[in-house]
């Protein structure tokens, strides 16, 4: 219980830090692009929306920093992230909430697939270390070193431009109306296949290498030797004794790698013009839409924190040691 409380407190603190960073970045950096944009929007923007933008970007010079901070929190708690400049006058919160499910779906499915496949391959490689299986390590290293977006470019070139099997951009057939029909879901899977494949390909190597190294370490533990000595079948020793223990650090490193995978997926969305939050962030960056940029960062960070917390809780359930130890 103490463990859980500590973790929850930590995530609350991190969320607070992320929001505070988000508050300070536009205030600390030189240049005042928002003022210029507000000047251009003069008259077209209603006074309340203008006020929230001023609060979000610290343009109210006459109020104290503390008052600005309090106002900022007030806006966030009401779910007001300001107005987007490019998609004027749509609120940032609306744009973000439309694109978030796409990213969550893509990252979620791809990460689960990569985790399962990677851990299985890693188990096998670690168990057969010192044999030909070690020859697969350089391949894994290569995939780990390739930037996500480049792998995306290559898959587009091969599967979409040359073979024409899959579409190169978009997230569903534009001729369809989004609905919970088999046809529409099929289209989403068809369009999502290439982005998901690239995310899996580039993140699977990390799981393979992590699992392999843990297997090598775990398999010289006494309980594995005992299991061998008992004459248990090799499969049972491998999965029931070694892999079962080796997978625990994988679960805990899940939390740490998630931010990285999400970052990569965002780039992948930019390459595939997949309508998730990464593509939104890309559009925001290329059109200098600062409110949208800030909103995207905030939502991405908070989602990663929530996912991390879930992974932590799962870890606490899986490994009883975390519940008794102090940390």
């Amino acid at each position: 219980m103490r463990f859980l409380l500590r973790r929850v407190a930590f995530y609350a603190l991190t969320a607070w830090a992320a929001i505070t960073i988000n508050f300070f970045i536009p205030r600390m950096l030189p240049g005042d692009p928002v003022t210029a944009l507000l000047g251009r929007m003069q008259g077209r923007i209603d006074s309340r929306a203008e006020h929230s933008l001023r609060v979000l970007f610290g343009l109210d010079q006459d109020t104290s920093l503390w008052q600005q901070y309090v106002d900022y929190w007030g806006l966030l708690l009401r779910g007001d992230l300001g107005l987007s400049f490019t998609h004027f006058p749509t609120p940032v919160a609306d744009i973000v909430s439309q694109s978030l499910p796409w990213t969550v779906g893509l990252v979620g499915v791809a990460t689960v697939i990569a985790f399962v496949i990677g851990s299985l391959i890693g188990t096998f490689l670690g168990w057969r270390r010192g044999t030909w299986a070690d020859g697969l390590l350089p391949v894994a290293t290569f995939f780990q070193a390739v930037p996500y977006f480049w792998l995306g470019l290559i898959t587009i070139a091969v599967f979409s431009v040359n073979l024409g099997w899959f579409p190169s951009s978009g997230s569903y057939d534009r001729g369809m109306v989004p609905a919970f029909t088999g046809e529409f879901i099929g289209s989403v899977i068809y369009y999502g296949f290439l982005p998901a494949l690239t995310v899996v390909l580039s993140s699977v190597a990390g799981w393979v290498l992590g699992m392999r190294n843990m297997m090598v370490t775990v398999s010289s533990e006494d309980y594995v030797t005992v299991a061998h000595a008992k004459g248990l079948p090799e499969r049972q020793v491998m999965f029931g004794y070694a892999a079962r223990n080796a997978v625990l650090p994988q679960v805990s490193s899940f939390a740490l790698s998630l931010g990285f995978v999400v970052g990569g997926t965002l780039i992948m969305e930019m390459v595939f013009s997949y309508q998730g939050i990464g593509y939104t962030l890309y559009q925001a960056v290329s059109t200098h839409d600062y409110p949208l940029m800030q909103g995207c960062f905030l939502v991405i960070t908070l989602s990663v924190l929530v996912a991390n917390m879930v992974a932590d809780l799962a870890y606490a359930l899986l490994d009883p040691r975390t519940r008794t130890e102090d940390r």
Partner: protein, 305 residues
């Protein structure tokens, strides 16, 4: 001493270092050995690789090999600056946290854990996109400022275990000052961990910078491998089938990243002998007819004649 020799005998490390050396040479000599000026426009528009242009040309007839060669410097400088700055911060935070313990440790660890969980790439994009000009060095410093947490975490754990060792206790009992304890007793034992953290950060920095250039946040006139991919993506290189435009730059990034990872493997094998024991001698074991078994570390001793 033995360990250092081992480091250089390891095939992975040698491969990694050779590739790194090659790219360093390119970075140093790039502008002089590039066959063309990377910005020089010519009549050969989007031509495939030929004798005149080894890696072909882009949509305005600029030589891609030259862009690649000249761009190497930008990539390596950013990697190096980001790696060094992140390592310095990581060492300061990690070693301090591990050494002082107590409340200082708690707060420093919480700080580095926070930086670990906040997704770095969006944060870097957010900062870089709001800077008036995000040149190579600025990006490197931003990457360094956000990427130190992993190293700090590993270093803290290692320092924590070193702090209680007998030789440190002995030195403390001898009345050595704290700074001397840290610098002379603890730090030398952290060399491998620091080195591996540094290499890891350089890899991450290279990937981040190339990504930032690819999405067009850094100035597109500053050549690096990501800029080439930026131009390729924005001029539909994929749809036009101009593979020579985007394949070489990506391959270079992958090659550099792989070289860094290989070096890191070598360092890992020094730190964790279990990873080393059989992996290094797989072939010689097979030749001797020894089948590696899980749970047992084969030790082969030559019979003295």
């Amino acid at each position: 001493m033995n360990n250092r020799l081992m480091f250089l005998r390891n095939g992975k490390v040698i491969t990694g270092l050779v590739i790194l050396g090659f790219f360093t040479l390119l970075a140093l000599l790039g502008p002089w050995i590039a066959p063309y000026d990377p910005n020089q426009v010519s009549d050969a528009l989007l031509s495939p690789p030929s004798a005149a242009h080894w890696l072909g040309t882009d949509h305005t007839g600029r030589d891609i090999l030259s862009q690649l060669v000249v761009g190497t410097r930008g990539v390596l400088v950013v990697g190096l600056v980001a790696g060094v700055s992140a390592t310095v911060v990581g060492v300061l935070v990690g070693v301090t946290a591990g050494f002082v313990g107590g409340v200082g440790d708690e707060s420093l660890s919480a700080l580095s854990n926070m930086f670990l969980v906040i997704p770095q790439l969006p944060l870097i994009i957010l900062i870089a996109a709001q800077l008036p000009s995000a040149g190579g060095l600025t990006v490197a410093l931003v990457i360094g400022a956000t990427g130190w947490a992993w190293g700090a975490r590993v270093l803290r754990a290692q320092t924590l275990s070193l702090r209680k060792r007998d030789f440190v206790e002995a030195a403390r009992a001898n009345g050595e000052r704290t700074w001397r304890l840290v610098l002379v007793e603890v730090m030398p034992n952290l060399t491998a961990v620091i080195a591996s953290g540094f290499v890891g950060t350089v890899t991450f920095a290279v990937l981040s910078q190339v990504t930032l250039s690819f999405i067009g946040i850094t100035p597109v006139s500053e050549w690096n491998w990501g800029t080439i991919l930026f131009w390729a993506q924005n001029n539909l290189a994929l749809q036009r089938g101009a593979w020579w435009w985007f394949v070489p730059a990506g391959a270079c990034i992958a090659l550099l990243g792989m070289a860094l990872t290989l070096v890191n493997f070598g360092i890992d094998e020094i730190v964790n002998p279990r990873l080393r024991s059989t992996g290094l001698h797989a072939r010689s074991l097979r030749r001797r007819g020894i089948r590696p078994r899980v749970g047992f570390t084969p030790v082969v001793r030559e019979a003295r004649s």
